[in-house]
Symmetry: C2
Subunit: 228 residues, 2 copies
């Protein structure tokens, strides 16, 4: 029975995720599901991406948190349209939770939607939200063994970000061991090494985002319209 | 129905947890449930605690991981009796999962059992394992806002460890903000600031563990017997 219930939950979620995606596609909005451990720097990466992309793509954000509006307030204070979901204990977002905040964002006025998931390297990997890309962010301070210990997250990732590379001189991050672990699970996902604190490496990540938007929506929509 | 199922799960778990605890009490073994985000340094803290306590308390370890035996192999290589549970995807340990590894450890030959939970600051907080003390470990690199964002974990903690204080000069950890967040949820839990890498601050933590053992088992058992 447990398996049956779980399958039903996943099927229902995937149906809602497909609805969300259709809505995003209609408005040519590229949606990213940002997943990471607590404190890996998801919000800082959003803010640095906004800075780097400011004259090229218009951003919106859905902030998922168990409690508090700390991140949402922070992002909003930078003038970025932001909707908050407090999951009230739930350890991940799902497609249903996204529907109300998605309706709250003026999609025609944005090109990229960052959905910041609950800080958790386990549960979010199992639930589609309707995103185009799943992004996994690792803080270098967490150590290089994470792909071996949390394989599903690195398997489903469309791109992987190693954040906080400014700490590299002070930690023992075994880079080769990390890449070996990632490539055993996932041959395709590009890996971006950056510091959302100093900005180092953020431009390569931002250019990749622009490419991703162009690949999907460039033809029918021309350049993204940033004149609002 | 969802609520009813959830209540039944918690009740069944608490019954098994009570069984586990009775077993530990009979053998005068103090059990600690170590909970933290991925990469906060749970295993390193176990190894440093073993070093600091080596002539005072005998340790055993249950290593909980979704996949891999990296941590278990590491702890075992230091001569510490260790049992491994791979949860195969599950995001936390529960009292039932503990039963087999608990039977695998020779309880009369140890005084303290560290149970390393799955790296996750959310789900493990909801499940008793039969431990005497819940310990939450935060890596300083995760940032000081964690009690605000993951309140349940800090609320249930019997002690809180801030690990990786060797990184303090390179990060922006707002110590006052962290303590304000903790004390709003939890007035009692002692907070230990330490580095499991350099060993700084570990002795205060280890002395507290010894006190905890003595409080519960010192009377009937005298000093813990380390002559094995």
């Amino acid at each position: 029975m447990e398996i049956e219930i779980k399958e039903n939950i996943f099927n229902a979620n995937d149906q809602l995720a497909a609805d969300n995606k259709a809505k995003l596609d209609r408005e040519a909005v590229l949606a990213l599901n940002l997943m990471a451990s607590p404190g890996a720097g998801k919000t800082s990466l959003i803010l640095q991406s906004a800075k780097s992309l400011s004259d090229r793509l218009r951003l919106g954000v859905i902030e998922g948190d168990i409690a508090s509006s700390i991140d949402a307030d922070n992002v909003r204070s930078h003038g970025i349209p932001t909707e908050l979901i407090n999951t009230g204990g739930a350890c991940h977002l799902d497609a249903n939770m996204i529907q109300t905040p998605l309706a709250g964002i003026d999609l025609p006025s944005i090109d990229v939607l960052f959905i910041e998931n609950v800080g958790n390297l386990v549960c979010p990997a199992e639930f589609n939200l309707g995103e185009h890309l799943k992004i996994v962010i690792l803080s270098a301070a967490e150590g290089a063994d994470k792909p071996y210990k949390y394989p599903l997250m690195f398997k489903v990732a469309d791109a992987i970000v190693i954040n906080k590379i400014d700490l590299m001189p002070y930690i023992d991050f075994r880079t080769g061991y990390f890449y070996d672990g990632v490539r055993a699970l996932n041959q395709q996902a590009p890996v971006f090494e950056l510091s959302a604190k100093t900005g180092e490496g953020v431009d390569a990540w931002a250019s990749w985002l622009l490419e991703q938007w162009n690949e999907r929506f460039g033809q029918g929509h021309g350049e993204p319209d940033t004149s609002r």
